[in-house]
Amino acid sequence: MTEAVKFSDDTVLDLARYFRFQWEPVQEAHVLLYPEGMVKLSGSAGEIMKRVNGSATVKSIIEDLGKTFPGIDLRNDVMGFLEVAHGNGWIRVKQG
């Protein structure tokens, strides 16, 4: 069971335990690997997950994405994806 979590700007996110994030050349996509399974990520999901590294805050993830994709307000989309990813058990909040 996962409760809806509102992340604050200072929340540090990390991959869930036993998850691995990597680029799959054959599928031309980023994927998440875990025991007995795999999630193939869309291009934008891959760009967000690339920045979930156990040290970046939500704010810095959004800012860094803004540098790669300038001129677009990404905040709501990124927040929305991170909440879905958390709900699916792909990422966890890193306890300070």
Partner: protein
């Protein structure tokens, strides 16, 4: 000759995702429900370390991401550390599927260092007596120790327990044992009737009542522990009225490489008559996956007969399991007789009906442990080992 699903539909063949490396058929256990081929003692020499490294490299190049080291008991190979480390370098997510026999602190430390992702430990039952009887060895204490090592090295605690007539009534105790060991995932997998398990089917198939009780116990346990333990309960397909989507389709995502290098679309396909499967020593995995006749024979639905050919559900279950169709009907292109639409469905319902009666005394139909001696006996027979259709 062009087989169904070959050249014309080549573009539709997707890349493999799973590689199961059955690195050896040697095993210190002798489980009565083992799915390994009964004639494994006739197989050729095991692949060398370098040959396995070639299999890993080439399979990764064509897209496999999940890798299972299995057997037999994979820990019997003393080069497993080398294979694990290479698997990590290549980018596999790797899983060691083991009875735990042969796993000590030195080896698990090397696996961790090499980058093994996950260990799946099998238990035969929760009680020492039954565990030791079913695997015909004394291993229960050892498995409990191994479970502790797995946790100590920060691996997810994944337990696999094969259920059947003789242990299914202990489902609740099995789950309590799993909880006591700190298991995070438990797979209660009802026996699939291949290999040794098919030989012993009449002793292993549970009654419908046993099955219902076990599911009820599982649900009760789930309510108590909540989300801290994920429990998968896999129903035996004999009790279903539609077949399993075996391997998610023939040659769709899955590759098995056997100890001698034979490459198969599933663990059991070697038994199918009229097909030759390539050896990884002689061919590149890319050719084997995309071009070899063995991998193309049952791709798509061109090979199907009625009732599958016009069935709207063929896209969901692909006609079920080719090997089960062959084992039970003698023709791999028939519908899997688990399906209630199959004209051979009575073969399954008769086995199920027999299972509702008290078990035959073991003196009438002795249970067969998986070992080299029995394998040599089976290998002398030309027919595949199957239980008598009483």
């Amino acid at each position: 000759m062009e087989t169904a699903g070959s050249a014309s539909s080549r573009a539709k063949v997707s890349n493999p995702l799973w590689l199961l490396a059955e690195v050896t058929y040697k095993c210190p256990l002798h489980c009565v429900f083992c799915y390994n081929p009964t004639d494994y003692t006739t197989f050729g020499k095991e692949l060398s370390t370098d040959e396995w490294l070639k299999v890993l490299r080439e399979s990764r190049e064509i897209g496999a991401t999940q890798l299972g080291f299995s057997g037999g008991e994979p820990l019997v190979r003393d080069d497993l550390e080398i294979l694990v480390a290479e698997a990590r370098k290549l980018g596999y997510y790797s899983n060691l599927i083991t009875s735990g026999v042969g796993l000590n602190e030195k080896r698990i430390a090397a696996f961790k260092e090499g980058g093994l992702d996950h260990i799946q430990l099998s238990f035969q039952d929760s009680t020492r007596e039954m565990n030791d009887f079913l695997s015909s060895t004394k291993t229960f204490e050892l498995k409990s120790k191994v479970a502790k090592l797995i946790q100590q090295y920060d691996y997810p605690m994944v337990l696999n327990v094969v259920l059947h007539r003789m242990n299914i009534d202990h489902t609740y105790q099995i789950l309590e044992m799993a909880e006591a060991m700190g298991a995070e995932y438990v797979e209660l997998a009802n026996t699939q009737y291949y290999g040794w398990a098919l030989v012993n089917r009449d002793q292993l198939l549970p009654t419908r009542e046993q099955l219902e009780r076990a599911e009820a116990m599982t649900n009760k346990f789930r309510e108590r522990v909540g989300s801290k333990m994920k429990i998968y309960f896999v129903v035996p397909d004999y009790y279903a009225d539609r077949p399993k989507a075996c391997m998610n389709g023939w040659g769709a995502v899955f590759i098995t490489v056997q100890a001698d290098g034979t490459v198969l679309p599933c663990h059991e396909a070697r038994m199918l008559p009229g097909l030759t499967f390539p050896n990884a020593k002689d061919h590149d995995m890319r050719w084997i996956w995309y071009e070899s006749p063995g991998f193309n024979t049952y791709r798509g639905d061109g090979w199907m007969k009625e009732p599958c050919r016009t069935c709207p559900e063929k896209v969901k279950d692909f006609g079920g399991c080719r090997c089960q169709a062959f084992m039970l009907t003698g023709d791999a292109t028939n519908a899997d007789p688990v399906c209630s639409l199959s004209p051979h469905h009575h073969i399954v319902t008769e086995a199920v009906a027999r299972a509702q009666k008290p078990a035959m005394p073991v003196t009438v139909h002795p249970i067969v442990f998986r070992d080299d001696k029995s394998s040599r006996e089976f290998s002398k027979k030309t027919e595949p080992a199957a239980p008598a259709q009483v």
